[in-house]
């Protein structure tokens, strides 16, 4: 019972913010908060692969797309009916939409995880750069397929997705991915991932099944990317394949690298910064991408470790008894 206190407190906090936020800030800012949340999920999930395990995955947008379109199709054809039925049974609105949304998000995540497994299993034995290219190729193939399949709207896009996502759900997703990442990092499984990143040969020689763990990181990363995609779809109510280009993958990579590969709090921070940046640079909109690309170059030259390297922000009330896995925070 005591153990359930933490999660319950978090849920209450999210519900509270969900009610309070729309009253405190205007819709424009609210949209930014939601996008920040989605990007945090994307960044932390990519960090599991690129940061924790040291693999080169550069097609994350592909997994996001799988989750987005998968969950959207579910909602359009099945979920909406559930919502209607639940509403007709006089259940409160939050549950009538919440249940089908949860199902849609989980489905999207699982589809993306399956894609991660299919892509990861054969390619994770390839050398670093080659894996990068395969993941890049995967991302592009997904986009090309979506653009050419009429059932999901092809190039015109997919409209009419029920807009069930509010702050609570985005917040839940963020909390979930961070909890998974932190718990993973401070466990023997997380240490195994770091070991693979530092020296795969030695890790294997000491009993770590490196292929299994690399695929695992990949699958978990893909799952959360899919969830992020689902949240995205059910917030905008509209999907277009142009949201899932290689550029989107690069944006997520930029977040992970800016924050520091391997640092969870770094990914969170950088995701927020890089979501706010385009808004801040709106006055110089035309120069935005040029500045963005220069930032990437300068960052790699001057501070490749990113903001936090592979350390975490020190939280003053956390006293760690066991040794941490993400460096020595």
């Amino acid at each position: 019972m005591r153990r359930a206190l933490g999660p319950i407190a978090v849920l209450l906090l999210l519900a509270g913010l969900d009610v309070a936020l729309p009253r405190l800030i205007n819709p424009y800012l609210f949209q930014i908060v939601v996008l920040c949340g989605i990007n945090v999920i994307l960044a932390v999930s990519l960090n599991l692969v690129n940061g924790f395990t040291g693999q080169f995955s550069i097609g994350h947008a592909g997994f996001m797309a799988v989750g987005a379109y998968g969950s959207a199709m579910f909602s359009l054809h099945v979920g909406q009916k559930w919502a209607d039925a639940l509403a007709a049974a006089h259940l409160p609105g939050a549950i009538a939409t919440g249940l089908p949304l949860l199902a849609a998000l989980l489905l999207g995540g699982l589809l993306a995880a399956a894609a991660g497994w299919l892509v990861g299993l054969p390619s994770l034995r390839l050398r670093g750069d080659y894996l990068a290219i395969v993941t890049l190729g995967f991302g592009e193939i997904i986009r090309v397929i979506i653009t050419n399949v009429n059932a999901v709207g092809a190039a015109r896009g997919l409209p009419g997705i029920p807009g069930w996502v509010d702050f609570f759900w985005v917040g839940l997703g963020v909390v979930a991915v961070i909890v998974v990442a932190v718990n993973l990092a401070h466990s023997t499984h997380g240490r195994a991932l770091f070991a693979i990143r530092d020296d795969e040969v030695a890790a294997e020689a000491l009993g770590v099944d490196t292929t299994r763990y690399k695929v695992l990181a990949f699958v978990y990363g893909a799952f959360f990317a899919g969830v992020a995609g689902g949240l995205f779809a059910h917030y905008l109510s509209y999907l277009n394949p142009n949201s899932f280009t290689f550029l989107k993958s690069i944006e997520v990579i930029a977040m992970v690298v800016l924050g520091g590969l391997g640092s969870i709090s770094g990914s969170v921070l950088a995701a927020i910064i890089l979501t706010l940046l385009p808004e801040v640079l709106r006055p110089v909109k035309d120069y935005r991408m040029v500045l963005y690309s220069l930032m990437l170059i300068v960052l790699m030259i001057t501070r490749p470790g990113g903001l936090l390297g592979n350390r975490e922000l020190r939280l003053p009330w956390r006293k760690r008894q066991t040794a941490s896995g993400t460096g020595l925070a």
Binding site: N183, L184, S187, H189, A192, A205, G207, A323
Partner: protein, 266 residues
């Protein structure tokens, strides 16, 4: 089904390793009995590390069989072999650079941990017990090698000699029955080598280990090995007690032009 008590722990039967046109190891037969401390020596490039790589599964032999505790292990993956009781250190130190000493050692215990991923994510009781066990295993190994004060230091910040010891502590945490040490004394000064010799002998008796040792430092080899096998160009040219090997003309010839083996006064 385990092998009978007096059966060899490790057996290499006519093992050959061919890379394209090069035979790195050729027709090697070698047996290790339980509890032995055997040395593997030979000039540079003789194929010694290749033998280690064959035993630990990094390479699958082109020909021949490798049998451990009565069961063949050729073609098994390295992590399975490690889990099965054979761990090693490396010629060029391969520590996990971003991890502390404690975590470096704990990795080796991973193979024997019982808590699965879901346990870790949900922070179950089984996970907590498992973590505690891993940490105490790690502390115990660090203490054995005299590294307790470095437990929370990043592995790569250690002085060179201590890094070599850390590799040993790490290999031990894998609970091996056979320990392969690849040039553990490389780069150590005479005092450090003395300490290392003592530690290896203590570990062997205290942990009931069988040890196969590659080394160039002849004082260490002659000092602690019960038996020595000599490799040259991938072929075993001699095998026997340290006294026999020291006097063997083929061995001396193989080393001609390199350091002639210097042995402690007997």
């Amino acid at each position: 089904m385990t092998a009978p008590a007096d059966a060899p722990l490790l057996q290499l039967d006519d093992v050959t390793m061919q890379f394209g046109g090069l035979k790195a190891v050729s027709g090697l037969s070698l047996t290790l009995g339980r509890g032995e401390l055997v040395g593997l020596i030979g000039p540079n490039g003789a194929g010694k590390t290749t033998v280690f790589n064959l035993i630990t599964g990094v390479y699958a032999p082109s020909a021949g069989r490798i049998v451990f505790e009565g069961k063949p292990i050729n073609g098994k993956k390295p992590h399975a072999i490690a889990r099965g009781g054979i761990t090693r250190t490396f010629q060029n130190i391969r520590l996990f650079s971003s991890l502390s000493c404690r975590d470096n050692v704990a990795i080796a215990g991973h193979a024997h941990s019982r808590a699965g991923l879901t346990d870790a994510l949900l922070r179950t009781r089984r996970f907590a017990e498992d973590e505690r066990e891993l940490q105490s295993l790690s502390s115990a190994m660090l203490e054995r090698l005299g590294l307790t004060r470095f437990a929370d230091t990043r592995a790569t910040e250690l002085p060179y000699g201590q890094q070599r010891r850390l590799e040993i502590a790490r290999a031990l945490a894998g609970r091996p029955r056979l320990l392969l040490l690849d040039e553990p004394a490389a780069g150590l000064n005479p005092q450090e080598s003395e300490d290392l010799m003592r530690i290896i002998q203590e570990l062997r008796t205290q942990l009931e280990l069988t040890i196969l040792l590659i080394e160039h430092d002849m004082r260490v080899v002659m000092g602690i090995c019960g038996r020595i096998a000599v490799l040259d160009y991938g072929v075993k040219i001699a095998e026997g007690s340290p006294e026999r090997i020291r006097r063997d003309p083929r061995v001396i010839e193989a080393y001609l032009g390199e350091e002639v083996p210097t042995a402690p006064p007997s």
